[in-house]
Symmetry: C2
Subunit: 434 residues, 2 copies
């Protein structure tokens, strides 16, 4: 499979083994064995999340880390140590994540960054901004503008249903918020060339001109001047727009799937030129499609995805029919050889959503050694997802249109600038400066 490599390949060892993986904000296509995340870290130049970092986060937050961290689902980062240094010094930071509202219903994979962001908001007690890129979806898809705008409000309900604190969370539609964002967007646009976005995103001369400036729009919320209502004491900076006079200690932490990293590489390049801190990043793996771990779940395929609107019966049927099994081909094979968990979709979904470590370990042990059959693992997953999705639907149903409007309204957040943290010092508190 290595005859026709599509790109220069960094790791020649792996080249022998599998097809080159393609990971861009619009396309994820891994080899048959799934995405090689170690290789992605090399390709993208980010850092693996180490045991040390996990310990440090627990020490700083005084809470156990989220199981997404413990299980390596969030696996890569940029500048997390610097962010924690700042946090310990009592400097403010905020969270920024986003969603491209292209479909009526979000699927399970879309929940991952929001579930994790909710954890970060809870343990750090910081403001969160959520960019709904309805403009991006309009530019890239066959979609009317106002349809994209309507989907922003539909998807916002699903995001709010993840339990975000309204007093600390600002969700915004680019279509509605551009008036506020535009100055920061312009500053970024002026610092990024056409060549750069062609190189990073693969745009071509036949692409529409909106695509070329969109990276500046996704970058802008990484800089606090985009939100004078959240950082009112910095509104003065915005007015002056003197780079040298900027409050240079407000950082931004961006939890996102690894495919969004190209946007933030551009953002981090630009940041110092504009007098801002580079945003820190924390990257998740992809949520696999039902058919297997070499594709991420996509909302354009009905049979590859479990949607947040699915009924218990739909969830059951999809998992039973479509979830790729790493178990033996026959009962006898499974009992004899056990399941290949690396490719088993039901087990991987459990890793994402089954919070109970003991129960998960029990399934891992039994399933991999043949003491459990695929049907039983699927059964456990069906029970879990039916409950989880039903609870989500229940929470979503209770969210009123007024609440959505409130989340999307430009207003002060009840965020208080932090103070110096009392953290028990330790050897590993030493930040690795990049």
């Amino acid at each position: 499979m290595s005859e026709q490599p599509q790109e220069p390949i960094q790791s020649t060892e792996q080249q022998q083994e599998k097809k080159e993986q393609i990971v861009t904000p619009w396309d994820v296509d891994a080899g048959d064995d799934g995405v090689d995340y170690g290789k992605l870290i090399n390709q993208f130049g980010s850092q693996a999340i180490s045991e040390d970092l996990l310990e440090r986060i627990e020490r700083v937050t005084k809470k156990p880390v989220h199981h997404f961290l413990k299980r390596g689902i969030f696996f890569s980062h940029r500048d997390m140590h610097k962010l924690l240094d700042y946090y310990e010094q009592g400097k403010p930071f905020y969270l920024y994540t986003g969603r491209g509202p292209s479909s009526e219903s979000m699927h399970l994979g879309h929940l991952i960054p929001f579930m994790f962001t909710k954890y970060l908001q809870d343990v750090f007690d910081v403001p969160l901004v959520v960019q709904m890129t309805d403009d991006e979806k309009f530019l890239w898809k066959k979609l009317e503008l106002e349809e994209a705008h309507r989907l922003t409000y539909e998807n916002a309900k699903d995001i709010i249903a993840c339990g975000f604190d309204m007093s600390k969370t600002f969700i915004f539609s680019n279509l509605d918020y551009m008036g506020h964002l535009y100055r920061t967007v312009l500053e970024i646009e002026k610092s990024v060339t056409c060549s750069q976005v062609k190189g990073v995103f693969g745009f071509e001369d036949s692409d529409n001109i909106g695509k070329f400036s969109f990276p500046a729009i996704q970058a802008a919320p990484s800089f606090y001047t985009s939100f004078p209502h959240i950082f009112p004491e910095t509104a003065e900076d915005k007015k002056k727009q003197k780079k040298t006079k900027r409050k240079n200690d407000i950082m931004c932490l961006i939890p996102c799937a690894i495919d969004q990293d190209p946007y933030f590489r551009v953002t981090r390049d630009v940041a110092p030129k504009l007098g801002f801190q580079k945003p820190a990043l924390i990257h998740s793996k992809f949520f696999p499609a039902l058919q297997g771990a070499n594709k991420k779940m996509s909302s354009s395929s009905d049979t590859s995805s479990i949607f947040l609107t699915d009924t218990p019966k739909q969830i059951k049927d999809k998992i039973n029919k479509h979830a790729f099994s790493g178990g033996g081909a026959t009962k006898e094979d499974q009992e004899k050889y056990g399941a290949n968990l690396a490719v088993d979709v039901p087990y991987q979904y459990l890793q994402f959503f089954l919070e109970d470590d003991v129960q998960l370990e029990d399934i891992r042990e039994k399933y991999s050694t043949g003491k459990m059959l695929t049907g039983q693992v699927k059964g456990a997953l069906i029970d879990l997802l039916q409950k989880m999705v039903a609870e989500h639907q229940e929470r979503r149903k209770k969210i009123t249109d007024e609440q959505v409007k409130e989340f999307l309204s430009v207003r002060k957040l009840s965020f208080t600038m932090p103070t110096k943290k009392e953290v028990v010092p330790s050897a590993t508190t030493e930040a690795k400066k990049e």
Copy 2:
């Protein structure tokens, strides 16, 4: 001078005579004999303004045409006959012009489109929108954002001092108005490729990404959906954004210098795809620099321009010292051969600003035949400009910051949709459909 033509040249006859002329929104460089406007009409594919069109405008407006029209200073157009057809049928149109606020003080040349636009507003009684492209100036120049924004307000005072009717005029800063403009901008961006803007504007991959999307921002005000507060009955269209449901009878007329035409060629290309009428255009010649008619007046050169802030003494000194004369080299030569009016800057300025036809004709006749000397013509021009600039300064001084804010505020205009005009029909009323 024809050894190294810089571009394919359409008119081979003229090729023998002079250097190729370059006319873009950022650069005007004509041959030694000045800009060949007939050739520009061919290059750009616009139409010359004919005697028929002038007559038709007089008939429709029941007023004499502006001396800029009579004297060929506005010399080229696109779709003026269609606009007049529509106007006669009682369909609404509005005026759109703009200004890039890059300098503290505007010069005489900057007044031309505004003086003409004021005439159009007066005789047609229609709303006017004025785009201040502070974003463009930030993207192209070494200029801070808020400095560009401040210049918008400074320049707006000069524009208002031209006498626009506040109840029918909306001036806007792109920095402030982008929230309202963004949907229309996006629709245009989606319909224009990177190749197209490279072809039309000569952008290169090393240019910043903001430049690539700017043509959509200058195009947007040509479409009425950018101004729901001016066309409230069409706000519904904006919400639906269904191209097929748009009110397709609201036209826009853009008075501008001919170098801005490339922006509106792109705009006119896009219009039918988005369900809009193509904007009509009416083009002016350039206002020449003091040094001669082969350069347009530029605000970056202090000695080539007369500024609206100049004192009577400055005006006198600049004209006496720098205004290029087409008169004879000596008193004797001038009396013997007369002046070459085609290159004489004082005479050309008089053509722009001396409204009295009889007086202008008297000067033309005497100066060209040697009965008048350059000093006398310069003296007449100095008197005229000293008075004109002083009056402008007087009007500008009286404009309060509150009035400027009001002109720039998003509000209803007291525009009433027109009714079918009673115009005496004539053979020349037949529109030339393009």
